[in-house]
Amino acid sequence: MSASTTQAGSRATDRTGSGTGPEDRAQVLRQDRKKNRIGYNIAGLAVFVVMAFPVYWLIISSLRPNHEIRSYDQTLWPSSLTFDNFQRAVNQPNFGTAIQSSLIICGVAVLGGMLLATIAAFAIARFRFRGRKFFMIVLLAVQLLPPTAMLIPIYIQLNDLGGLNEYWGVIVIYLVSTLPFATWMIRGFVINIPPELEESAMVDGCSRMGAFWRVTFPLLAPGLAAAAIFSLITAWNEYLLAYVVLQDNDKYTLNVWLMNFTTSRGIDYGALMAASTLIAIPVVAFFLLVQKYMATGLTSGAVKG
C-alpha cells in the first residue's frame, strides 16, 4: 500500500521534471514528493479533525460537569471529568426496561433472520434453478424501497393482526428488514467455500442438506458472525417503527427512550450525550469487527441511510 501511495505522490509532480534526464528527473521527483506530501498530510489532518470532532464532542460532553455544559464559553477540554451525566441518564425512568426491550427485540430478530437467510443463501449459491435470478433481484430491489413509505401499510397491517404495542410485531418487521442484506452477504461467503467439500461428504454418504450443515456451515461461521452483526446494527439503530408501534413506556426500545428524552422541559444535553454514548458504544464496537466487509455493502444495496 505504501508503495502505491509513493507513486501517487510522485505522479502529481511529474510535470515539473520535464526536460531533464531520467536520473536527474528521479532525483527531482523524490525531493518534490517529500514537499508535496506535507501539503496532503496537512489537508488530511484537517479532514480528520472535521470528521472526528462530532464524535469527540459527544464523548467529552458526556463527561463534562453540568455547569460547563450550561455555559456560554464551551472549552475544548473540560476542567474536570465526571460521570454525573451518565448517572442522570440511567436514572431516567424506563432505562432498564428499554435495555431489556432492545435486547429481546434485536436478539430474536437477528437469530430468526440468520436462520432464514442462511438456508436461502445456500439455495442461491449452490443451486441453479428457475427463478433464482428473480429471487436475487427481489433481494436487491426491496432494499431500495423507502422505509418510511412502508411504515403506513405495515402499521395498518399490524393493527389488523393485533401486533401494535407488542414485541412480536416489531420483531417480525426487523427480522424481515435485515433478511435481504443478510442473505446477500452470506451468499458471498458460501460461494467462497469450495463445493467439492460438500461433494466429498456426499460421496461418503451425507445427504445434500447433511453435507451443508456438517461441512459448509461450520466453515461459514465467520461470515455468519459478520452478517449477524450487520443485522444487529441495523435493528439496534432502528427507531421509527418502534416509535410508532410501541406505545407503553415500559416497552420502549433504547432508541425510543432516547427520542423521548428531550420532550420534558428543555433539553438536558449532558444526560442526552451520556445516553447517546451508551447507545453508540455497542454499535461502534461491533462495527469495528465487521468494517472490512463493508465493501460488500456497495454492491448489495442499502446498508445505511
Binding site: 480528520f48 443451486f127 423507502p146 403506513i152 405495515i154 393493527n159 447517546s276 441511510g305
Partner: protein, 332 residues
C-alpha cells in the same frame, strides 16, 4: 464476486466423482441421483421461508399502499375494522392539486441534489487525498471515518443538535468569539435555509465515510502504469484524472451516487429528530409529509398515496441502480 463465482464453478480436480467431461457443471449435477424431483424441489423449499417473509413484509405492504390510496382510511376505519370506502382517484387529485405538496416536492428535490453533490464531491476529494497522504495520516483519517460511519443516526443527530443549540451550542460560541459574528443566542432553526444547512451537515457528515472509503477502494484499482504513462506523455493532473482515473472509478462512482440519491431523497430521521419529533411545516420533506398526514392527521390514505407517489418517483432511480448491478455481473 463474479470471480469468486467462477472459482466456485471451477472443475474439481481431486474429487473422484467427476465423470462427465465438463467440469463447469455445478454440484447439482451429481450423477445417479435417485429422486430427481425431490432434488429439483429442494432449492425452492430452501428459499420459501425467506421468500414468504419478504413477500409479507415488503411486497404486501406495497400492494396495500396501492389499495389504501384508492380508499379513505381514517381513524374510524382503523379502530373499528370497518371496511374503508372507495374513493377512486380522489386522494391523488387532492394531493396533486395541493400547492403545499408541490412545494414539499421541490424542497425534497433541492435538498437531495445539494446533499448528493456535496457528499460525492467531498467523498471523492477525501478518497483522492487518501491516495496521496502518508500512511499514518491515512490510518488516522480512516479511523475517524469509521467512527463517523458507525454513529447511529439518532446519536449523530443529537450531537449536531447540541452543536447548533442557540444558548450553549459550540457553533454560536465559535462564531461569536473567534469569527466576530454576533451569534450569541442565535436560533439556527428559525430560518429554514439555515436549519437545512445544519440538517444537511448531519446528512453529509454521516454519508461521506461510506463514499470516500468506497471510492478509495476503487481508486486503488486504477493501474499505476497507465497513470504514469499518461503523465509522461504530457497529461496534466486534470488530464490524467479525466482520461485514466475516471473511466476506472466511474461505475463505482455512479452506483454510490445513485444510492446517495435514494437515501437523501428519503431523508427523514435527521429532520424529524433535530426538530424534536415535530418538524415545522417549513421543514417538511416528502417522507415527513406522508408520515404526518398518516399519523398526525389520521388520514392514512393520504399518507399512503403520498408514499406511493414517492415510490414511483424513485422507481426510475432504483431500476437504474439494479441495471448497473446486473451489468457488472453481480447477479450471477
Amino acid at each position: 464476486m463474479s470471480a469468486a463465482d467462477m472459482k466456485a464453478a471451477d472443475p474439481p480436480v481431486t474429487v473422484a466423482r467427476v465423470t462427465e467431461g465438463s467440469g463447469a457443471q455445478p454440484p447439482r449435477g451429481v450423477p445417479r441421483r435417485p429422486r430427481r424431483t425431490a432434488g429439483a424441489l429442494l432449492p425452492y423449499l430452501l428459499i420459501a421461508p425467506a421468500f414468504v417473509a419478504i413477500a409479507a413484509v415488503f411486497a404486501w405492504p406495497l400492494v396495500k399502499t396501492v389499495i389504501m390510496s384508492f380508499q379513505d382510511v381514517g381513524r374510524r376505519e382503523l379502530w373499528t375494522g370497518e371496511a374503508a370506502p372507495w374513493v377512486g382517484f380522489e386522494q391523488f387529485t387532492n394531493i396533486l392539486g395541493d400547492g403545499e405538496f408541490w412545494s414539499v416536492v421541490w424542497r425534497t428535490v433541492i435538498f437531495m441534489v445539494v446533499c448528493v453533490v456535496a457528499t460525492m464531491a467531498i467523498g471523492l476529494g477525501i478518497a483522492m487525498l487518501m491516495q496521496r497522504m502518508d500512511t499514518w495520516v491515512r490510518l488516522l483519517l480512516t479511523a475517524a471515518l469509521i467512527a463517523a460511519w458507525s454513529m447511529p443516526l439518532l446519536v449523530a443527530t443529537s450531537i449536531f443538535r447540541w452543536f447548533a443549540d442557540s444558548d450553549y451550542g459550540v457553533l454560536n460560541m465559535v462564531l461569536s468569539k473567534y469569527l466576530g459574528v454576533d451569534a450569541q443566542g442565535h436560533n439556527w432553526f428559525l430560518d429554514p435555509v439555515q436549519g437545512f444547512v445544519i440538517i444537511g451537515a448531519v446528512v453529509v457528515w454521516g454519508a461521506v465515510p461510506f463514499v470516500s472509503v468506497t471510492l478509495y477502494a476503487a481508486l486503488t484499482q486504477v493501474p499505476r502504469e497507465l497513470e504514469e504513462a499518461a503523465a509522461l506523455d504530457g497529461a496534466g493532473v486534470a488530464g490524467v484524472f479525466r482520461y485514466v482515473t475516471w473511466p476506472v472509478i466511474k461505475p463505482v462512482f455512479q452506483m454510490v451516487a445513485t444510492l446517495s440519491v435514494l437515501w437523501d431523497f428519503n431523508v427523514f430521521g435527521q429532520i424529524f429528530l433535530i426538530r424534536g419529533n415535530k418538524p415545522e411545516p417549513e421543514y417538511t420533506v416528502l417522507g415527513i409529509y406522508s408520515f404526518e398526514k398518516a399519523f398526525e392527521s389520521n388520514s392514512f390514505s393520504q399518507g399512503a398515496a403520498i408514499s406511493l407517489i414517492t415510490v414511483l418517483l424513485l422507481s426510475g432511480v432504483a431500476v437504474y441502480y439494479l441495471r448497473q448491478l446486473l451489468k457488472i455481473g453481480e447477479v450471477e
